[in-house]
Amino acid sequence: MLEITTRQQDNAFIILLDGRIDASSAKDLEQQCLSWIDSGHHDVILDFSSVSYISSAGLRVFLLIAKRVNAVKGRLRLSAMNSIIKDVFEISGFSKLFAIYPTLEDALSG
């Protein structure tokens, strides 16, 4: 189960994720995020503070999002990962791809 809510703050489009990013929720997340980027939200912050799990299928979605944001020369930031999700980003080599901030506030001011 993954709940996705959004809000606009300053110039950033914040996507708040709550739950698990697994194979069953990845497709929905992918479609929604790509459509928001296509509709003009090019400064995106994905907040992980309520994400408990991300699988390899979930990681793939972030590759797609990063690719789309790069294509429109936008900006993508990730925030507030718990330690094990941070580890997963580290060991998969994904942490080099993204700007990762400890908190949402840090991401907004970053």
Partner: protein, 574 residues
Amino acid sequence: MTKPETIVYGTLDRPPVRISLLQALQQMAFLGVYMVVVSLFARTMGLNHNDSLHLISATLLASGIGVIIQAARFGGLGSGYFCPVQATSSTFAALTIARASDGMAAMFGMVAIIGLSQMVFAFLFKSFRQVFTVQVAGVSVMLIGLGLGYNGVKLIVIDNPGSLLNENQSFLLFALTLFTMIFFNVWFKGYLRMFSAFLGLAVGFTGTYLLGGIPPMGWQAFQGSPLFYLPEPLYFGWKINADIFIPAIITGMFLALHGVGALLAAQRFNDADWKRPDLEMVRRGVMAEGMTNLLNSFLNGLPLTSSGGAVSLAAATGCTSRWLAYWLGTFMILLAFMPKFIVFWDIMPQPVMGAALIFLSAFTVLAGLQVIASRLLDNRKILTVGIALVLGFSFEPLRPQLMETFPDVIRDMVFSGVGVGVLAAVLLSLIFRVRNHTRDRRAFIASSDSLDDVAAFIRIQGQKWGARPEAVGRAEYAAKQAFEIIAEHALSDSTQKSRAIELQTLYDEFTFIVIFYYHGMSIPVSLQAPSHEEMLHEEDGVARMAGYLLHRLADHVRSRGGERVSELRLIFND
């Protein structure tokens, strides 16, 4: 082993001579107070001045040899840690039985059997590694701390009939000593923190002198004692008879259990990354204690056991170096030949000593709590820790009633709160092994069971395993990833998806194994992550990334495809 930030000179460090010297003096100031136990025993036994002088001198000489053997590590003896030994009043009951059976000589024959039984315990110790768990270690360390604190409070609240100080003066001395120790320990760094206990004792002693609290008898004893004394081995003799065997063996076992607690405290204080008891080190440590008591019996000293207080003092003041043990041992040996100086400790006032014990107990209790809280606990472990702590801690206040109620044999057995608590924890660990399955198996259906069901199963098994939360969290995460990738990629058709994925867990003290049995393709476990392009464009990119994550999250992974059943095995070490 990672040296904690609070330790300036760890086990392997060699402090400068001046630091070693002052640290050894600080330790001597603390441990010397326990020589009062020997004086007390001599008085109880009605020994004359020369006999009691010999008893003190021989016990001190054996203590000096013991602290060096413990730190030195040679010939299968010694833990390598700073873990001094001290006399304890809890052996009086057994010694009294020996004396009644065959005079003073039998008492020292008993000390030899106590030492031998400690060595036998040490020899068998590792065979019982399944019951000497992290929780048992935590209980023993915590009870040592609680015991120190309890004795400290007792020294303050119980009247000392021989004291020249009134209640207000005693309280003032207690507060002054404790405040000095806390002041230098908390708000200072470097030397002043390192000698905070010594400074507290010195201020307390000076305060006692200024308030006129040093009894004239103390000065007389100081003047009357010779400057030099040569302890004579077998001064009282050495005899063994059948009556002393059982109480001696039981006493030896309890001293060994007490020693286990102090040695575990030493391990915990010296390693910021401490995970579980190093049983080989404990075995060598208890063996060294046994050998010390064996030698001690021929010197005709009182039985010795590890001093949890001295271990705590070393940790509190940031110096746990084994070189400190050599300095302290040398001091003790020298003082054994100079009884005039031993008298000083006879006149250390109760409130000053009480303050020191309370100060040291804080560090030890917290170390025990940290050990217990470092692992996930299921109901078995909660009950083991809880009951053992309650029994161990209640023992001291209830000792008089228990001593009256228990038959003689039991009375000899239960003489220390630490011993009672550790014995209870060991017995409960043994009892709770009944029907405590170290393996479990459950079937999950990919199409209907969720990752939460898998996670909940692993979490419950992890609590039974009693591992650190990080280790269980890692296992839970990897199991979810494994279940998901099997369900999404390994099961190719609806028949396979409708069949159960069997999840089996196996664990022991060190390892937790999660095995998936399923009807489908094997999962590719890769040593290298797929490239980003491969992940986006290749069909098996996500499965390969999953295999790589599993390889990194678990300590070992094995994936095997069979004709009928495939197997994915994840192994986690704690």
